[in-house]
């Protein structure tokens, strides 16, 4: 037991303790910004869910809502749970160390799983509990609903935890086999991000339509009937819901308890039997990432640098997600976001502003993608010194990075323009004009981001050498990118209304061209000197 508490404290320190790295002021600011954004999203979530509850209630689908909500929460918890279990229980960086300590595997497991349970509790209290309470108030539930709420919450914590534990080992085995399939990983990420975003947009659209006209827009009448039917068969979420609302309460309670006990028992047994051996096997097999021997090829310094830059991003799950995944998924996300924006914009102002909306949405996604450029130098990490000795000038190296970013974002913009044109969201002329303006602004933002990073690089020299946390330059770039996008959007919409699309886009082209030129000049003038001054501390 003592070793458990010691390990638990260690886990807490590892996660929440002070790192003693970087600028503490920046860390605090960054954390505050992150918390503020999370708070904003959380408020939007609470507001949105309240609307959804009212909407389902109005359409006499309250039970269906509860079943769906519990089911979705459970699925999300299971998905995140599997990832967390693998990361924290089986592939935790300190496993190798802990196995050498005089502590039992059970204590290690218990300490790690406690942290995981803590996360689950926080998630459940913050995400699920308010929804259950809002549901209870809206649908005027009696005392028994609130009395049984803690039981359902406990079930909601244990069940996904147990399922995650059960699924973690097979998933681990699959992921070990696909570890080097970078394209596949990227594809899966893109599909998940695009699909998740599309669903999110549909939900937002539903909430917006409901607020506007109380219309149920994301379910057709036919789908509503199907959802209603299907919700009766979503086990065990329907039992949890029935327990709460008093529909077949006794039976639902017994079955819920049985299911939760069964999965929890299974998870305990499995971990007891396989936890230690799985960790050991994973540690032993972790070095065998690349087994295929490839020949050395002679490439020109420029092409080799370009290729290395690309592969660095492509082969890192972090970088790949932040950049390539976003760039590839951007057309779909812009399409979905534009659809929502157009419907809202058309109804509030008029169809005439749709080109400006499309431009704004394109630019927002460009800003997200290109914020990655703000770590172009920092990402070199402990290999930075190599950039000073490669047979290429600093300027050329920076231009190669710039070219890579622009190539990807331009391709993304072109695909986006074609998509929104082909799907009839806007006319071809406006689609490509918007893409052109977004391109010019992208040049400006990229140059600006690279310059920021050159001025104040932040090299990651520990761990796996990846820069997994955002630098100040990244946040500044994001802020500037978002601000410019919103300003362009505001100016575009108002301008189109007052002066027409041609003139407004004409002005924006001029401004963007000017910005691009200024940013390029700012980057290029004195680049070699500035780069020379960069040192790795």
């Amino acid at each position: 037991m003592r070793s458990y508490w010691t390990l638990f404290r260690l886990e807490l320190k590892a996660r929440f303790g002070a790192r003693g790295m970087g600028n503490p002021v920046f860390t605090v600011i960054k954390t505050l910004i992150f918390l503020a954004l999370v708070l904003l999203v959380y408020m939007a979530y609470i507001f949105g869910v309240k609307q959804l509850i009212e909407m389902f209630y109005l359409y006499d689908m309250s039970t269906e809502f509860l079943v769906l909500f519990i089911a979705i929460s459970q699925v999300l918890l299971v998905l995140f749970g599997i990832s967390s279990v693998i990361k924290n229980l089986f592939r935790s960086g300190d496993n190798e160390l802990l196995m050498r300590f005089p502590v039992s595997a059970v204590s290690v497991f218990a300490a790690k799983i406690s942290i995981f349970v803590l996360y689950q509790v926080i998630f459940t209290v913050l995400v699920e509990l308010p929804v259950f309470i809002m549901f209870g108030i809206t649908t005027a539930q009696g005392w028994s609903y609130y009395a049984l709420l803690p039981v359902v919450l406990v079930f909601s914590i244990i069940l996904p935890l147990a399922i995650s534990n059960l699924l973690a080992i097979p998933v681990m085995q699959i992921s070990s086999r696909t570890k080097n399939m970078f394209a596949l990983s990227l594809l899966i990420s893109v599909i998940m991000v695009a699909a998740g975003f599309a669903i999110y947009m549909n939900v937002i659209q539903g909430v917006v339509d409901y607020m506007k006209e109380e219309a149920m827009s994301f379910f057709s009448k036919k789908t509503m009937v199907q959802v209603s039917k299907a919700s009766k068969y979503i086990y065990p979420s329907n039992w949890f819901a029935y327990m709460l609302i008093g529909k077949w309460r006794l039976g639902a309670s017994l079955l819920s308890f049985l299911v939760v006990s069964l999965f929890a028992g299974g998870a305990v047994l499995l971990n007891k039997k396989l936890y230690f051996s799985t960790i050991l096997r994973d540690i032993e097999g972790s070095g065998a990432t690349f087994t295929k021997v490839t020949k050395n090829k002679m490439r020109s310094p420029m092409w080799a640098t370009f290729r290395r830059e690309f592969l660095d991003i492509f082969r890192s799950s972090n970088y790949s997600f932040q950049y390539l995944c976003m760039a590839v998924a951007a057309p779909v996300m812009v399409f979905c976001c534009n659809r929502l924006a157009s419907s809202m914009g058309e109804n509030t102002i008029g169809a005439v502003i749709v080109p400006a909306l499309a431009l704004m949405v394109m630019m927002i996604f460009c800003a997200i993608i290109l914020s990655f450029a703000a770590s172009s130098v920092s990402r070199e990490g402990e290999n930075f010194y190599l950039t000073k000795i490669v047979p290429l000038s600093y300027r050329t190296q920076v231009l190669i990075k710039l070219a890579l970013y622009m190539a990807v974002s331009t391709l993304s913009l072109l695909v986006t323009a074609v998509l929104i044109w082909v799907t009839g969201q806007i006319e071809v002329r406006y689609a490509f004009e918007a893409a052109g303006i977004a391109f010019l602004t992208s040049v400006a933002i990229t140059c600006f981001a690279i310059k920021l990073d050159i001025k104040r690089p932040q090299f990651a020299v520990g761990g796996d050498g990846e820069l997994s946390v955002g630098s100040l330059s990244t946040f500044v770039t994001l802020f500037i990118g978002f601000t410019v996008s919103v300003l362009y959007g505001l100016f575009g919409m108002v301008g189109i209304f007052l002066w027409g699309t041609s003139m407004t886009f004409g002005i924006l082209v001029g401004v963007s061209g000017g910005l691009a030129l200024l940013a390029a000049l700012w980057l290029m003038i004195g680049l070699n000197k500035r780069y020379e001054r960069i040192t790795q501390r």
Binding site: F34, L37, V38, L40, V41, A44, L58, Y59, A140, V193, F197, Y200, I204, V208, K212, E213, E214, A215, M216, S217, N318, F321, Q322, M326, M333, C337, L340, A341, M344, G345, E346, N347, T348, I349, G350, A351, V352, I353, L357, M360, V361, I364, I368, L467, S468, V469, G470, T474, L478, F482, V486, G489, L490, M493, V494, F497, L498, W499, G500, M503
Partner: protein, 889 residues
Amino acid sequence: MKKFVIVLLLLVPLIVLFTITASGMIISAEVAIAIESFELRHLGEPVTEVTINYREYSSRNKKYQLIPRYFPGVAQVNGFTWYSDNDQVATVDKNGNVSFHNCGFVKITAQSVDSVSVKASCTFYVEDSEIHDVSIYSYASELIVHRIQMRVYETEQVQALINPYVALAGDPAYASSDPAVFTCDQNGVLRATGEGSATLTLLARDKRGNTKTCSIPIEVSGSALVKQRVVYAYGEQADLTPYLASGVVVGGNNVDLSALAAGEQMTCTVRSGAEECALTLVKTANEHMIGIAGSEVLHKEGWGRNVYLAVGRKLHLSPVDLITYEGIEGVQIMSSDPNVLAVAESAIEARATGKATLTLQKEGYAPMTIEIVCAVPASYFSLNLDADQDSVGLGSTRVYGNRSIYDGEIVNGIRITAENLYPLNSDPTLFTYSVDSEYASVDANGLVTFREDAVGKQVTVTVKSLFSINGLSRSYTFRNIVKGVNVGFGLGANVFDEKKGENPSFAPYYDALRVQYESRDTALVFQTNVYLPTRKQMESLAGEYQKLCFTRDIYGNGYKLDGQFYQYSFSSSLFEEGKDSQLEGYEEQTGVTISDLFVNSYAPVGTDSKENFTELMRVGGIPVHLCYQKRGDFEVRFRYCAFQYAYSHLLSSGGTISYDGCVFRNSSGVSLLVQSADEYTNSVSVHNCIFSNSISLTGLVVNGGFPVAKNAPVNYNAFSWTGNNYIYNWKKTEEIRLDIIPSGILNDKTMEALMTMLNNKLNECARTSMIGDMNAGIKYKKGKDTYANLGILFIDYWRPIHFIINEPREKTTDGLKLEINCETASLVPFKMSLVSLGEIAKRLASTMLDLDHANMMLTNKSQDGSYNTEPGESYKLDQKTFDRLRGEV
């Protein structure tokens, strides 16, 4: 960083929505667009009539939310006022949430705060499976009764009014507390049997098994003259003595029937002292005939000639010998179609809509056969003409022509029809129509025909639902009948919604042309928005009547005459140009009145952008152009009209034109142009009008034409500015424009370029003229900015203006006669600084304009230097504005 990116992705739609909202606010602040119409929606669907389950709402304290979706979507909407026409059934809060309090029928109406004539309604039929209340309705008085007075031998039928009727299970039961006073059968037929007082109790059972009762006292005193009103007799003679309670039959109690054929009837008069009553005597073909007891009172229920029976209703039949009026046992009752009319024991029940033949037969008796129409009567309906919608336009008065055009045919009268029938499968033919006035008549189909002298009279039409469960009737009063043809009935508002890709019907326009062509001395009365078809469609029309002329009165009823499909050049007009040739054959006519019409020259309201104003400057057209040369006295009176979206709203070169209570807004050039040619008289009067949002001047008054004949006499304009006129044409002094030389009127490109250059230079001069102490009388300081309210500019264009202000003028050649209300308006000098004009432009300008001395501007500056409008101030089409337009401030 991954988490951060995910959080950002989640925030993206919120940022987008925020930006759209912010843009909308900026745009709304920039351009004021008024609401034109709206519909009520619930759960995203448009609703006009809804059936509500009361229990579903009351048990959950649920409300029904109505959300207005307005047109155009960019309109500045400051809210709606909501009201219910039956607070006992439902009330509505300020957000459109309807709360139901009882079963019944209720109409909820929303009215725009910004424009009081813009309304929409939704009717609710509130039902329940439980009976809420019962009452007793008397067929005799056609009212809900709380006591009934009868005389002995009298009969009367009552009916149970069940709210809601759909909750009723089985038949309502009637009972008499004392059969010695009155009896009551299951059809609700009361028969007074003796003097005294007793109670009639009605008991109804609902589908939930609950019962509701209603009791009323029945007081019987005195006696009727006859024991029954209808007597059947066989043979050549009939002795009526047994049927008399007192008195005698005039002509003797023994009546000769020999003159009557079998089945025919006669009416006898029974007299006792001063009292008289009628007794109907029917000659039968047989000695023994089957009849139904109480059938004479059941006529009102639907028997007799009107053999209707409401679906769901049951009637208990008591077969009698018609001659002796004694009950007959063992009568066989049959229905030709039991699905429509079912027979159960001695009762019949209408099961479905349709016809069925009912036969009562027994050996030894002549059978009785009757065809019964089973139909669903309406227990609720509204009329296609609604008094609630009569407060239309700036004049707030709806006008009707005494004739109408339906499907391209002009018919004498107006059709009044029942709408929103409840139940939904109600028979639309089961209505009666009546009028209260000798000036009109109405036929069985609801066509109201007015007599020639009905003009100016009031006529009320009453429509009654036959055999309904609540005897509902509705009335509509025609308050303003004119000699004219109604155009556009049945098309609703005929809204054009470009965003939804919905085009309006052009039928009203073609109908209006047809009326103009076929009927010379009749007014046009619009009952919907009228849109001009496209230019191509217009040009494909044969004949000479392609546009509306000012040869008859036009009553707009607040609807639009919209030329957005047609206006394509500066010189194009919405109406046919007013010329003498049009008045041939109208010599006796001294003028026409255009009332309550919205004249919309070009651009759709939904895209009220500066881009469109630029477009208006190029192609907006001038909807009204009057140039009566010989008939200068012919007066075109615009009353309570609104002019919007044109280059200029009116160009007057000759004739007499008056504006009373009109609104002029959104013009891309000078709002009013008064430009008489030398030889024509031209008189314009403006009274209680509002002018707003003109890109340049409110008006321009000039005299003479080009080329100028030497020493030729000039007929000067007359311009009158009376009452209280309001100008909302405030411009920052550095932004003012005059645009006194419009572009697009010359075919010569070089001249056109020169004129454009000159115009721009003059605009520049006007702005320069506002710097320093120059034109101090026009300038108005507010905050840090200096403004000018650009009114009517009188400028020496071709000819110098000689003002004759508020003085009599002997001849039109003496000078411009100006009549102004000096209390609320001022004529202030406006001097142009010519520094920035340049030599070429100066020379060009001097050929037509005299800019060396101060010209005069008429504006709404009162004697004390104050204005009745403020920079940045706007107005709504609300009651305050209506009062201003009527001069009732």
